[in-house]
Amino acid sequence: MISLIRSEFYKISKQSKTLYALAAILIIEGFVIMSAFYQGAGIIDLLLDNLKDSFEFRGNLLNGNLIIYLILNSLWFHIPLILMIIISGFLTSEYKEKTVETVMLQPVSKLYFILSKYIVSIAFTLLIVLILAVSSFFISYWIFGHGDLVVYLDGLNFFKSDDASFRLICAFVSGANTMIFFSVISLTLAVILKDATKTWIVSAIFLICSNLLLKIDFKNEVINELFFSKLTDSWQYFFYYEIPYSTIYFKNLMLLGYSILAMIIGVLIFKRRDIHG
C-alpha cells in the first residue's frame, strides 16, 4: 500500500497537469490581488458610503486580511472546479492510456490500488489548499499589510486584525474539508464514468448544483441540516461575530461522512468491475 502511494506521488510529480493546477491557483490569486489593487478602494468606499455618515473609519480597510478573505472565497467554485478536473484525471488518464490494465497485470490488489488513489487525492487537495493559504497570506500581507477585516455576512461584520487572521486560518482548515469532499466525489465519478470529458462535465454540474442547492430552503429541517450541499459552507461560519463552533463541527463531521461514503462506493464499484482500458 505504501509503495502504491509512493508511486502515485511519483507519477503526479512527473505530470505537467500538476504544474497547471498550481499555476491556475496562482493565476486566480493574482487576479484577485490585481482587482483589489486597482478597484478595491472604490468598492469599499461604495460599501461603506452610508456608514461613513454615522461612523469614523480609521486605518486602511483595503488590507491583507480583506484580500485573503477574497481569495478564500475562491473555495466556492474556482478551487473545487480545478481540483475536480485534476483529481478525476488521476484515474481517467489511466483508463484513457490503458495503464490501469498494465498496473493490474502486476501483483497488485485492486482494493489497495484504488485506495491509494483516494489517499493521494486527499493529500494533493490538502497540499493545494495549503499552498493557496500560505501564498495568499504571504503575498497579501506583503503587498497590502495588516489591518481590520470587514466582511458582509448577513450585515457588515468587523474584526480586529489578529482575530481576523485567526478566523481566516480556521476558515482555510474548514474549507480544506469541503475541498476534500469535492475531490473524493470527482474521483468516484471517474471510477463510474472512466472517460475524462464526461467526468469533467458531471463534476462541474455537481459543483454548480451543490452551490445552488446550498441557497435553497427545503422547508424540511432534516434535509436542511443533513443534505450534503448544506454542509459545504462551514468555512463561512468563521465570519459571524460569535463563531458557531458546534455547527461547524457538525457540518464538517457530516461532510467527512459523505466523503467516506463516496469513497466506499468508488472502491466497491472499482473492485467489482472488470478492468477494461
Binding site: 509503495s3 511519483y10 512527473k14 492510456e97 498494465t102 498496473v103 497485470l105 502486476q106 501483483p107 472488470d274
Partner: protein, 285 residues
C-alpha cells in the same frame, strides 16, 4: 503443467464470447492462439491475466512466485510522460521491487533496449514500447507470459527481433509463452503448440507444425520462366504477374519442385500458403 484453463465461458449480455475453452500449457513451451478478429482471443487473455472474470470455468496456475503470470494485452500501455527508467520504477515499486541500477540495466538488456536513453517513452517506436512492456511483464520473474498480438504494427525487423527475444525467453529462461495472432505466418516457426479459436470455441489444437501442414494446400512459387513449365500447367497452376500458385493434386510439392528443376527452371522461392478456411474451420475469415 504450468497453466490450465478449463471450460472457460464468458458472455456479454446475449453474446457468448467464449464457450467452454480449455487450454493447457507446459513449462518452457511456446503456445500460439490463433483466430480471426473477434474470435475471443483477447477476452481469453484478459481472463488468464485476471483482468476480467470468467462466468464459469477454472484457471489453475502452478507457480509459487510473487507474480505467476505477466503479459501485455493488445498494445503496451505505459506512462508516456515517464522515461523507461521511470516506467520500470513505477511498475517495480507497486509490486514491492526496488529498482536498482543493476536491475534496470538487466531488465533493459534482457529485452534488447539501451539503458542510456533518458527521454520520455512517448518518443519511442512501437517496437521499443513492446520491448519495454515485455521488460515490465518480466519483472518479478513470472513463469508464464501472455502476449496479445505482439507483432501488430511492427515492421519486419521488429517482428524478427521480437521472435528472437521470445525464443530466448522460452529456451534460456524456461518461461512459458502464450501468443495470440490472427496472422498465421507470424506463429508458424515460433510456436510448439497451436490452439485455433473460432467464434469463442477451440476448434483445433495440437503441434503447430502438424496443424499448419494440414492447413497448407497451396504454394506460391517464384522463379524464372515458370510460365513455360509443363509440370505447372499439368497441375492447373495459376500464373500471376511474378509468381505461380500451385495446389498439388497429382504429385507432392517436393516432386513438383524436383520436376521443375529437371525442366531447367530456376526456382527462387516456394512459400506455403495457409488455407485460412481450412484452419479456422469456417467460410468467412
Amino acid at each position: 503443467m504450468i497453466l490450465e484453463a478449463r471450460n472457460i465461458c464468458k458472455s456479454y449480455g446475449s453474446l457468448e464470447v467464449l464457450k467452454n475453452v480449455t487450454i493447457e500449457c507446459h513449462k518452457g513451451q511456446i503456445y500460439g492462439l490463433i483466430g480471426a478478429n473477434g474470435a475471443g482471443k483477447t477476452t481469453l487473455f484478459r481472463i488468464l491475466l485476471g483482468l476480467i472474470k470468467q462466468d464459469s470455468g477454472s484457471i489453475l496456475i502452478d507457480s509459487e512466485g510473487i507474480k505467476p503470470i505477466g503479459g501485455i494485452v493488445e498494445k503496451p500501455a505505459l506512462y508516456g510522460y515517464l522515461s523507461a527508467f521511470g516506467n520500470l520504477k513505477v511498475f517495480a515499486q507497486i509490486q514491492g521491487l526496488n529498482l536498482t541500477k543493476e536491475l534496470f540495466h538487466q531488465s533493459m538488456q534482457q529485452v534488447g533496449l539501451s539503458p542510456t536513453r533518458k527521454d520520455e517513452i512517448r518518443n519511442y517506436s512501437l517496437g521499443m514500447k513492446q520491448r519495454l512492456g515485455l521488460a515490465i511483464a518480466l519483472l518479478n520473474n513470472p513463469e508464464c507470459i501472455v502476449l496479445d498480438e505482439p507483432f501488430s504494427g511492427l515492421d519486419p525487423m521488429g517482428i524478427f527481433a521480437l521472435h528472437e527475444l521470445i525464443k530466448k525467453l522460452s529456451n534460456e529462461n524456461q518461461i512459458t509463452v502464450i501468443i495470440s495472432s490472427h496472422i498465421v505466418s507470424e506463429l508458424t516457426d515460433l510456436c510448439d503448440t497451436l490452439y485455433v479459436l473460432n467464434n469463442g470455441e477451440i476448434i483445433k489444437s495440437g503441434s503447430a507444425v502438424q496443424l499448419l501442414k494440414e492447413s497448407v494446400t497451396t504454394f506460391k512459387i517464384t522463379g524464372k520462366n515458370l510460365e513455360l513449365s509443363e509440370v505447372l500447367k499439368s497441375e492447373d497452376a495459376i500464373f500471376l504477374n511474378k509468381s505461380v500458385l500451385v495446389s498439388p493434386k497429382r504429385a507432392s510439392i517436393s516432386e513438383i519442385l524436383q520436376k521443375l528443376i529437371e525442366e531447367g527452371m530456376e526456382v527462387t522461392t516456394c512459400i506455403p500458403q495457409t488455407d485460412l478456411k481450412a484452419l479456422f474451420g469456417r467460410e468467412q475469415v
